[in-house]
Point group: C2
Chain length 224, copies 2
DNA sequence: CGTGGCCTTGATAAAGTTCAAGAGCCGTGG
DNA sequence: CCACGGCTCTTGAACTTTATCAAGGCCACG
């Protein structure tokens, strides 16, 4: 367990002693696929780290449409906002698959921060990079149309995979639609169009980038 | 100057000694209306606090459409993301009116944080509440249509003003359109429709809420 | 009094959503 | 082993919302 904690980016560089403190205050939680972890508006008494599995953070409209804000994997944290500002969670959290998390209670964690400034700096880095992601998401949603967003997403995926052109979607197309701020029907049509234009090839959840330059232009200009 | 610094929320609760340190590392900057403070992609060697005036943070599409991410007034900070994650600014910053800022260089500030945990906690609170705002913005952009966003914005304004129904827009309608993720023409039409429906009355930058319940329904359901 | 900025209004076109129907896939159970 | 029900995904057609293009009004300021 101590190695698991030590491998979490948030806790990188902490002395052994503090890691032990963390182990002491952390609570392990196990979820099945599709379980709700918390709901928007719930009181947040602490935050979470994904140990295994995947978790989606999302907003819900009154009609039930969902907008995914993040998809988190092992080592990533969520729910910190409720720890440092306000007391309730600003969105929903649900597992995409069977998952394990560590939960860190608010007060104990804040006490720890006061002893260990580098923990605070790590947390600041994480929140900052999340703000950066959000800025990109907002830009994408309001400044680009769906084909541009999809192209940008595919290129991003490719980067994650060391530039490989053979991509495997690790989420369903319905979920992807929600990430892109649209609905499955629209995504389906645009994938079809991009295939017709020979930008990509699609085979179920396998997507191959055929014309990278074309995708880059599309992500830039938004015109398909 | 020391009183000015002491009155900034980020520095609330700091001992005098640290406030003096802050004065020593801060740089005062003066801008005229419409000046650019930094551009997306610029290297960020520190962050800013608005002393007087107002600053908008925004993204730009390739065609020139702008999406405002924040509008900041006295006491609010911006540019921190570049301090703690990455090194370049994720968006543009420009003054809306003649403004004064304090600039805090990255390294000196990080050094200070390590001495003063409550400074770190303040900063964490600020970043967290900004994340919360972003989550709301994303929700708004992807889940609601423009009338719903506008209704939500007006109600938010009303809240800011202790629930008053007589609102004074402190930004131009063109800027408001950009905040709402749309264009001036669309905003104009929707204001006209909402007036026709007797939800509001508009007189230049004066907006009066006539039917609060109706606005709330609209913000909730998005149907005008 | 004219000029430029900001706002409004109208006509048109594009993009996306909704509704409806059908195809493919998979696990379960007969 | 096959049939069934339940998913997810795809496709089509109508409709809605919003952007775009173009023109005109209002007001402040020189």
């Amino acid at each position: 367990m101590i190695e698991q904690i030590a491998s979490i980016p948030l806790f990188k560089g902490l002395p052994k002693e503090q890691l032990h403190d963390l182990v002491n205050i952390s609570v392990e939680q196990v979820f099945r696929r599709g379980d709700s972890i918390f709901c928007e508006g719930d009181e947040g008494k602490g935050f979470y780290v994904v140990v295994s599995g995947r978790v989606k953070i999302f907003k819900l409209s009154t009609e039930g449409k969902e907008q995914i804000l993040h998809i988190l994997g092992p080592g990533e944290t969520f729910g910190e906002v409720a720890v440092f500002a306000g007391r309730h969670f600003p969105a929903f959290a649900e597992t995409l698959e069977a998952s394990k998390t560590f939960f860190f209670p608010r007060n104990s964690f804040i006490a720890l921060i006061q002893k260990e400034p580098s923990l605070a700096l790590n947390m600041l880095a994480i929140l900052s990079s999340r703000l950066r992601q959000f800025a990109q998401l907002v830009e994408s949603l309001s400044l680009k149309e769906v084909p541009g967003r999809l192209a940008a997403y595919l290129l991003y995926l490719s980067e994650q995979r060391q530039g490989s052109s053979d991509l495997e979607l690790d989420i369903s197309k319905g979920q992807l639609a929600s990430v892109l701020g649209t609905i499955p029907e629209t995504l389906s049509r645009i994938l079809a169009r991009m295939t017709a234009q020979k930008l990509i090839q699609v085979n179920a959840s396998q997507i191959k980038i055929v014309n990278r330059q074309g995708l880059e232009d599309l992500a830039e200009t938004g015109k398909l």
